[in-house]
């Protein structure tokens, strides 16, 4: 492995054009990841035709590098302005933005940079060590029934994030699940709650909903404070997390690597579920659950470690089996095909040099997040100095563009503002915005896998529970729910 890695490194950095592509991918991914709406996918789609003129290894490498740095890029705006650059950065905003409001923006951004790099590098190393056996294990043991159980397990903990009481947390999650059912059902294609509007048949898109619930509702909250004279600008802070703070959270990092890697390796799942599950697990194992959603460093660490840990893992089913794990890896298939190649087992035999250039590039791209991230952080934090009256319209403009650009539908901009207003009202009443967003995102994944899973076990609950992973996750999820009820009842009786 070491020999192949070194050969890949020499091939990558021995050619000036490859270096240029690598640097472009690192910076482009970070930039496009950071701007809401125009995600790394936008950059990848723009670049796809140009890769026809590249060497195949250079083309695939460019996309892999964008994938790594783009996944990190969205964390910055999530932390500083409550605008997640992509759905996989949404859980980062849960605690990252409250940290900014508490004058700890430097700590949050520093932790995001460091943990994205740790998650990504570790994932890249595991990818290099065991791509083929891991891919085969994942597709043989994890099917729709297991993915649904995993989502149920993740949702069970969501109730304790951000709500004033556990009941309000659960209602928030249920609202999110309800919103997720708008549009065609994922299996039979039957329209639900679209009231005859064709555009609603596709359901509520993640990006406008996230921008509305997070960014727009926050603008309304701050505008209200400004109007009544209670607005306090977030304090600028350059304090990075200390070694001790990071060491305290070492378990959270390791746990998120495992969770993120596991989610990333499943075909069609990817970094979004990884980030939510990583965050959820941090809450589940914490002794101070109530601190989550209010600016806890562990929340940022868990989310950012997990989503970057999913990047290397998502390459495993793509390269070993030709199964893309998400939209970005699906676009990589296009790069392969432009060069008359097909990702899959034969690539390891026919083009081993390509594989090792890509592996090496992903390793170094994740390392470069650390160096470039730390350098840019010092500059980017000054954005917080912009007065609210200038910042708010800029955020609303960016969010509107970000909502519209995905599908080119005015409906998505309306949904964003609608979510912003609802979010504003719900926050005043103590409901959980993270809970709603979690419900929307996990609801879509969960419903599809529930329906498929039930068909696979012929609607027999005992057959479903005879699958060991399903049994384990469902029981763990139920225990989590019961523990939540017990805590809530005990608290209300005091």
């Amino acid at each position: 492995m070491i020999d192949n890695f070194l050969a890949g490194t020499v091939a990558l950095f021995g050619d000036p054009f490859s270096i240029l592509i690598f640097v472009f991918g690192v910076i482009g991914g970070m930039l496009f990841g950071a701007i809401p709406g125009v995600s790394m996918l936008t950059l990848a789609a723009i670049l796809l035709p140009f890769t026809a003129n590249f060497d195949p290894a250079q083309g695939v490498m460019l996309f892999a590098v964008i994938y790594c740095t783009g996944t990190y890029g969205g964390a910055i705006t999530a932390i500083l302005f409550n605008i997640p650059g992509a759905p996989e950065n949404a859980p980062t905003a849960f605690d990252g933005y409250p940290m900014t409001k508490n004058g700890q923006s430097g700590k949050a951004v520093g932790a995001a940079v460091l943990c994205s790099a740790i998650g990504g590098v570790t994932s890249a190393v595991i990818m290099m060590m065991a791509t083929e056996p891991l891919a085969n294990w994942a597709i043989s043991n994890i099917g729709p029934p297991e993915i649904f159980a995993l989502v149920f397990f993740g949702l069970a903990v969501a109730s304790s994030v951000g709500g004033r009481t556990i009941w309000k947390g659960w209602i928030s999650v249920l609202c999110g699940l309800m919103i997720a059912t708008i549009g065609q059902d994922p299996v039979g294609g039957i329209n639900r709650y679209n009231f005859g509007f064709a555009d609603l048949a596709a359901g509520i898109a993640f990006v406008p909903a996230i921008l509305g619930f997070f960014a727009v509702s926050e603008i309304f909250v701050q505008a209200e404070k400004k109007a009544i004279g209670k607005y306090v600008a977030p304090e600028l802070s350059f304090d990075f997390p200390t070694i001790i703070e990071l060491w305290i959270n070492k378990i959270a990092v390791v746990r998120s690597i495992v969770v993120g890697f596991f989610c990333g390796i499943l075909p069609g799942i990817g970094a979004t579920l990884a980030a939510f599950m990583g965050y959820g697990e941090a809450v589940r194992w914490s002794k101070n659950k109530k601190e989550f959603g209010k600016g806890k460093l562990e929340g940022v660490i868990s989310s950012e470690t997990a989503n970057n840990a999913a990047t290397g893992a998502a390459m495993i089913p793509l390269l070993a089996l030709g199964l893309p794990g998400g939209a970005m890896t699906a676009l990589m298939v296009g790069v392969f095909q432009m060069h008359d190649l097909e990702p899959g087992p034969m690539v390891f035999y026919n083009s081993p040099e390509l594989i090792w250039i890509v592996f090496s590039a992903m390793f170094y791209a994740n390392l470069s997040i650390l160096f470039i991230g730390l350098i840019e952080t010092k500059t980017i934090l000054y954005l917080l100095k912009i007065p609210f009256q200038f910042l708010a319209p800029m955020i609303l403009l960016l969010s509107s563009i970000g909502s519209y650009i995905g599908r080119g539908l005015v409906l998505d901009v309306m949904i964003m503002f609608g979510a912003g207003i609802i979010g504003f009202l719900l926050r005043r009443s103590g409901y959980s915005i993270p809970g709603i967003v979690l419900g929307i995102i996990l609801g879509k994944i969960g419903e599809q896998n529930f329906a498929q899973g039930m068909q696979m076990v012929h609607y027999d609950i005992f057959e479903y529970l005879s699958r060991p992973i399903c049994l384990l996750l469902i029981v763990a999820g139920l225990l989590t729910l019961l523990a939540g009820v017990y805590r809530a009842v005990s608290f209300s009786m005091k």
């Binding site: 099917g143 030709g322 012929h458």
Partner: protein, 343 residues
């Protein structure tokens, strides 16, 4: 001496026949549009065209849209911006297209789902009437696949026998949304064979193929171009072709008719359209551009990589209308049989 001469003659004859065969198969593709250029009507198009694609950039529609846009641009020098509007099984893209200006600057990519949607609900646009097909550039058939290393069955006969023995507990992965080509074809197959098999609907390719690779399902219903990499790497093998004759590349795979299933196969097709009320001179230019672009080397290479040259993938405007109309009639009849609410 005479024998040697005879041998040479036979050898020469054999080489000659082989050369003729290879030459004829290499030259089997003949461009139906002879005009290699066409004057722009009154300067149209004077700016880039927009192509609405009702699916994401990475799927089959996204790929064909990219390949055709490149071919048209190479041929005419006119750029095409692709505008992906995924969702609702193509409904979002179709709705957006119908409300776009019908000035010939916006074209639509769509698949046979548009025809089956109209068959189920006649208020939805009819691609043969409300739109003008510029070209249908991919037509393909479906097959049923199993894993190559499968030990429980290895051909159609043993598969049917095994499925029947499972008494409804066996599974097949496909895209079985209500009224889809896959669900209708599976209805034909299960009725003809007496099999009871649970269809598991996966809307994305990767989890669908992963389900068969990992043994989560027992078989897969798919088109050959979409699983070519698994066929080339010997992971999947077809056991049934749903087409009236055996395509040469699948000469050892029986067709549904050979297996006693007497139904007309439904084909998967992808094509390009323009508004029915677009200016006629612009429509003519677009028809030429898209039909001629089909002949471009880059497009042919793309179609070949997707197994889309195995059967005739080309339909001009009239051919496309015929294909769409016959599909709509067939779907409508089946929907009525299935007891669906045909509007």
């Amino acid at each position: 001496m005479k024998i040697n001469y005879l041998k040479k003659l036979i050898a020469f004859g054999f080489v000659g026949v082989l050369s003729f065969f290879l030459a004829s198969s290499a030259g089997a593709f003949e461009c139906k549009i002879k005009k290699s250029s066409m004057a722009k009507p009154s300067g149209y198009p004077s700016r880039a065209l927009t192509m609405i694609v009702p699916y994401g950039p990475a799927g089959g529609s996204g790929q064909i849209a990219a390949a055709m846009a490149e071919a048209v641009t190479d041929l005419t020098g006119v750029s095409i911006n692709r505008d992906h509007k995924p969702g609702g099984s193509g409904t979002v893209g179709m709705t957006a297209y119908m409300s776009a200006p019908s000035d010939g600057y916006t074209v639509l990519e769509h698949i046979d789902d548009a025809s089956s949607a109209h068959a189920l609900d006649s208020s939805r646009p009819n691609p043969a009437v409300d739109l003008i097909p510029l070209v249908i550039s991919q037509v393909t058939f479906s097959q049923i696949y199993i894993r190559t290393n499968e030990t429980r069955y290895n051909n159609w006969f043993t598969f049917v026998k095994w499925v029947k023995a499972q008494n409804g507990k066996s599974t097949i992965a496909n895209v079985s949304k209500e009224g889809s080509m896959e669900r209708v074809t599976m209805k034909f197959i299960t009725e003809a064979t007496g099999m009871k098999i649970q269809q598991i609907s996966f809307d994305k390719g990767a989890p669908r193929y992963g389900a068969l690779l990992g043994g989560q399902v027992d078989a897969l219903f798919e088109q050959p171009g979409d699983v070519r990499k698994f066929l080339d790497s010997d992971k999947f093998k077809p056991i049934l072709t749903v087409f009236n004759e055996r395509p040469s590349v699948f000469a050892d795979v029986p067709t549904h008719k050979e297996m006693g299933m007497n139904f007309e196969p439904l084909l998967r097709f992808r094509g390009f359209y323009v508004h029915a009320n677009a200016p006629s001179d612009r429509v003519k230019w677009l028809q030429w551009a898209f039909q001629r672009a089909y002949c471009q080397d880059s497009y042919q290479k793309f179609n070949e990589s997707k197994f889309m040259t195995v059967i005739d993938s080309y339909r001009d405007t009239q051919g496309a209308r015929d294909l769409i109309k016959s599909s709509i009639i067939q779907y409508r009849n089946v929907y009525k049989d299935m007891g669906l609410n045909v509007k």
